[in-house]
């Protein structure tokens, strides 16, 4: 048996099921790996060594009792720190929640535990998921395992880095404007934003309620599918949860075939502002799909150009309201309560001290966009643009089965490079945002290393609402062909740490 940390989740599960390794051994191997490499990557905000080993122990006991094990029982996972974990710190990358231990589990957390998945710890993120680089974490940036001077994407950079650095075979991310797919793209991993409403948001600390969606991060498409099936499904605790069968994503990942599938290349997602190496790898990816039997056509989505501005009105507006509860009264940080100051003053001082610059910027922007006199021009108009983008998708999906684009216009940039320019940072989510606005499913799958800088490039696949299985069908077929072309999985090329 080889290095347990280099195995896929599917292989780890079967290794445990067959008794070739115990879940405790698997957990320990990953904890050791975290101990060895995380000081230089900083993917984790909290490593729950005791909790992980205890969970692994329970899987081993269940197995020895002869109990039926789920398809991912004993597989370790890194959980984005935006997901509530009972008794385990949940900070959302913010000082304002430092030390807070929720009294309840998110539905995703509960489903992971019920599946026998071993939660290794909580991963770093841009504060409250606001950012594209994980530099906005109050607890310091995460480094991209492909080049430690570069960003691992964001907001879920801790999750993508933990998977690409072999600290965990699986991770959970959340995607509001691309925070699963963009980090996957820049770390050479697989990331999926399920259809909005596919995975419960109960216990996911809200950034932008109408856009947030949790999803799987993995090194292979099949692993992502296995995790997708564990976390997806109707939850009565989330009013926006869809009460419909979960698309058969695992079956789709196993029966990968794109013959006769109609693939649309989105004309608007390319050109100026896109790194030439990214565009080159994207073109090659499309050719590869064509060579696999897909029918490729160009499709126009005329309103996608307005997705970014609409997003930067809708998300800040919702966040300005969602983050109002961080007020020093019931939980979290309290600053300035000297016995003379009023509750109002303590709230304002705490929020000023506890939130970072990007969060404050978005709260102020959102407060502005919702205020009387501006609502119609900003928030109201953005919601109309949202309708038009949804219609663009609907029209496109009348012509094709899936849409493709680069996941992100460039490869991973250097830490600090865009820190002073919010707009430059926002552009990282140019290609991913439309699917958040429309709510449909989308995936990023590695499509090679950019010839200009040797860094990973992601192919984005977009499918209609509730057709998440199509992502896996296309993604798995593409992944298999890429692996064959490269003579091995792309992720194997990640430098040793």
């Amino acid at each position: 048996m080889g290095d347990l940390t280099r195995m896929t989740a599917a292989d780890i599960a079967s290794t445990i099921a067959s008794g070739d390794a115990s879940a405790v051994e698997v957990a320990q191997a990953h904890l050791d790996r975290i101990g060895a490499v995380d000081p230089s990557v900083h993917a984790f905000l909290y490593v729950d060594e005791d909790g992980a080993l205890a969970a692994a122990q329970r899987v081993d006991e269940a197995r020895s009792r002869g109990a039926a094990l789920g398809p991912l029982a004993g597989v370790p996972l890194a959980l984005k720190d935006v997901m509530a974990t009972e008794g385990v710190p949940t900070t959302c990358g913010s000082r304002i929640l430092e030390g807070w231990r929720p009294p309840y589990d998110a539905t995703v957390t509960r489903r992971l535990k019920e599946a026998g998945i071993v939660i290794l710890g909580k991963t770093n993120m841009d504060e409250f998921a606001m950012g594209s680089s994980t530099e906005n974490s109050a607890f310091g940036p995460t480094h991209n395992p492909w080049d430690l001077e570069r960003i691992p994407g964001g907001s879920g950079g801790g999750s993508s880095a933990s998977v690409s650095a072999f600290m965990a075979p699986l991770a959970i991310g959340t995607d509001t404007g691309g925070s699963i797919r963009q980090p996957a793209s820049v770390t050479g991993t697989v990331g999926v934003k399920p259809t909005y409403g596919g995975v419960s948001r109960y216990g996911l600390v809200a950034f932008s309620s109408s856009l947030d969606q949790a999803g799987p991060c993995a090194r292979t498409v099949l692993d992502a599918a296995l995790l997708h099936e564990v976390i997806a499904g109707h939850d009565p605790m989330d009013s926006t949860s869809i009460d419909a069968p979960v698309p058969a994503v695992v079956a789709a990942a196993r029966n990968a075939d794109v013959t006769g599938l109609r693939v649309g290349v989105v004309k608007e997602l390319g050109g100026e502002g896109y790194q030439p190496g990214v565009e080159q790898r994207f073109r090659e990816a499309v050719e590869l799909l064509q060579s696999l039997g897909a029918d490729v056509v160009e499709v126009s989505c005329p309103h996608f150009g307005y997705a970014l501005p609409a997003y930067y009105l809708i998300a800040p507006s919702e966040c300005s309201s969602n983050l109002a509860r961080f007020d020093a009264m019931r939980f979290g940080l309290r600053v300035g309560d000297d016995g003379t100051r009023s509750a109002e003053e303590v709230m304002a001082l705490t929020r000023a001290a506890g939130f970072g610059a990007e969060v404050k910027r978005r709260i102020i922007l959102g407060t502005y966009a919702l205020s009387s006199g501006y609502y119609e021009a900003y928030y109201g108009q953005a919601q109309k643009v949202r309708t038009l983008i949804t219609r663009d998708f609907a029209t496109a999906f009348e012509q094709v089965d899936v849409l493709v684009s680069p996941t992100t216009p460039t490869t991973a940039f250097k830490i600090g490079e865009r820190a002073a320019d919010p707009l430059a940072m926002y552009v990282a989510d140019l290609c991913t945002i439309p699917s958040n606005l429309a709510g449909n499913a989308a995936m990023s799958v590695p499509c090679g290393l950019s010839p200009d800088d040797g860094l990973p490039v992601g192919l984005q696949i977009m499918a209609p609402t509730l057709a998440d299985d199509r992502l896996y069908r296309v993604g798995a077929a593409f992944e298999a062909a890429m692996t064959e072309r490269l003579g091995g999985a792309l992720i194997e090329k990640v430098p040793a740490l």
Binding site: P103, Y306, I364
Partner: protein, 98 residues
């Protein structure tokens, strides 16, 4: 459309953020730039387009009027910055709200 420091200060008050003058100034500048960029949504002719507030086509998601056990005062208060007599202790409150 330049935002003044006073306008940003008003927004900061609405949002309960005690920002320094420096922060107000730099935010005023940044917001101008960002608003300039996002104002592009106004270019889209959308007068007769209905707004989308939810991307799921659901209505009437209701739960039955059935009791669920409480968290209990101890667990409810465990994360509180301050507690007293089974209640959340908060600094003095200025005025009654609506």
């Amino acid at each position: 459309m330049a935002l003044t420091r006073d306008e940003v200060a008003h927004l900061a008050h609405l949002a309960r953020l005690a920002l320094s003058d420096d922060e107000l100034d730099s935010l005023a500048t940044q917001l101008d730039v960002i608003l300039g960029a996002v104002a592009r949504v106004g270019e889209v002719a959308a007068a007769d387009i209905p707004p989308t507030s939810h991307s799921v086509p659901l209505v009437n998601v209701l739960r039955p009027d059935r009791l669920v056990p409480s968290l209990g005062a101890e667990r409810a208060l465990a994360g509180a910055p301050a507690a007293e007599d089974g209640r959340f202790r908060v600094p003095r409150i200025l005025d009654e709200e609506a």
